[in-house]
Amino acid sequence: MALDKNGIAKRIAKELQDGWYVNLGIGIPTLVANYVQDDIKVEFQSENGILGMGPFPLEGDEDADLINAGKQTITSLPGSSFFDSSMSFAMIRSKKIQLTVLGAMEVSDQGDIANWKIPGKMVKGMGGAMDLVASAENIIVAMQHTNRKGDSKLLKKCTLPITGLNCVKKIVTDLAVLEVHSELGFVLSERAPGVSVEEIVSKTIGKLFVPDNVPEMSI
């Protein structure tokens, strides 16, 4: 069965390693924070200027001076720090953030990503996404395998305006975990519980390498 949003977030949470600093984008990526394993410690960065972001505040404890990059009210954990935007992107560009998780509209088999603009629709802007994908060494995309029309979002080449080139390392969708390999394209490494390799193949347009054995994810 295809994963729901929380399932995707749970699977991504398994990628987290002890001591990592992590930037989570808006949407599914934000949910990853809910599934950090108990035996590791990671610190969440939000590019508007906080390290050590905690959960949403309890009702009544909201502080207008404490938000994340999605403009949601948040809390800060012991050991957190606040800093300005230039410092925030200094740490992003200088690769101090070990993992960046973000959503996408399209990903190519070369690791290109498009997630900021749909021609003809109101453009909201790239926010910090272009800075993040241009510098992060470890980018996981969290998204649905297909769009609302059922078309594959894993393409040979992005059709939408690019956010960054050759940057995505791994993709976790409702159907599969795929790694991006410079020659093989998408490498299918895991399938969602009960989802067949055939379904994934049929819903992937980009170059796809299917190993002999594709295990089911354990979440």
Partner: protein, 233 residues
């Protein structure tokens, strides 16, 4: 002796003219210079080019200047949380230049640091790179970006002293420090305006040398854009 402390908002805006380029601190509605924005609305200055990460919402933040048709162009990283913005943009009334957030911040910091241009990897291979010089460093393409040039910067701090030293709070810091450094004239509004010597010199985020005018804001609504809470058990 000269004082930076402003008692009358007209004074704070002295020299602000139509067609100028102006920076506004803040991220979303967090840490925006509410009182200065209200004063600019009242003054009615037109055709402003505004550098600000976002463009406010309907009826608040830069939305107040948008609905009064005072903004000619927005230079931002993320916009459109705002119906009036969308209407003006689609009708061609409002020009919009979208810039990656880190580049936006660094172009402010560069302006305030006497660095006219720098290379960044952000935006390479995208439409942001169009017409820009590309150069390889460490095997990776980077694009040349330039410092902004803004006549005014309006920023908001938590505490300030009468020489203009500023301390920000939480994530309300965001673009305020870099923009404070960048303005030819920087106007700071603060929640608490303290006598000289009240702030711990080690704890100051922006030294007063960057601040030309400072005042205690009379009202801070601090509207929350996305109130998100955890349930109490």
């Amino acid at each position: 002796m000269i004082s930076k402390v402003i008692h009358d908002l007209d004074e704070a805006l002295n020299g602000l003219e139509d067609n100028m380029t102006v920076m506004f601190g803040g991220f979303g509605l967090c840490g925006i210079p509410e009182n200065s924005i209200a004063a600019i609305r009242k003054k009615g200055t037109k055709n402003l080019t505004c550098i600000s990460n976002n463009a406010g919402v309907d009826g608040f933040g830069l939305g107040l200047l948008l609905e009064n048709h005072q903004i000619k162009k927005m230079i931002s990283s993320y916009v459109g949380e705002n119906d009036e913005f969308e209407r003006q943009m689609l009708s061609g009334e409002l020009e919009v230049e979208l810039i990656p957030q880190g580049t936006l911040a660094e172009r402010c910091r560069a302006a305030g640091s006497g660095i006219p241009a720098f290379f960044t990897p952000a935006g390479h291979g995208t439409e942001v790179a169009k017409g820009k010089e590309v150069r390889i460093f460490n095997g990776k393409p980077h694009i040349l970006e330039h410092a902004f040039d803004a006549s005014f910067a309006f920023v908001k701090a938590w505490k300030g002293d009468e020489t203009g030293n500023l301390i920000f709070k939480g994530t309300a810091r965001n673009f305020n420090p870099s923009m404070a450094m960048a303005g030819k004239i920087t106007v700071a509004e603060v929640e608490e305006l303290l006598p000289v010597g009240s702030l711990e010199p080690n704890a100051i985020h922006i030294p007063g040398v960057f601040i030309h005018r400072i005042f205690k804001g009379s009202a801070f609504e601090k509207r929350i854009e996305q109130r998100t809470v955890s349930k109490r058990n």
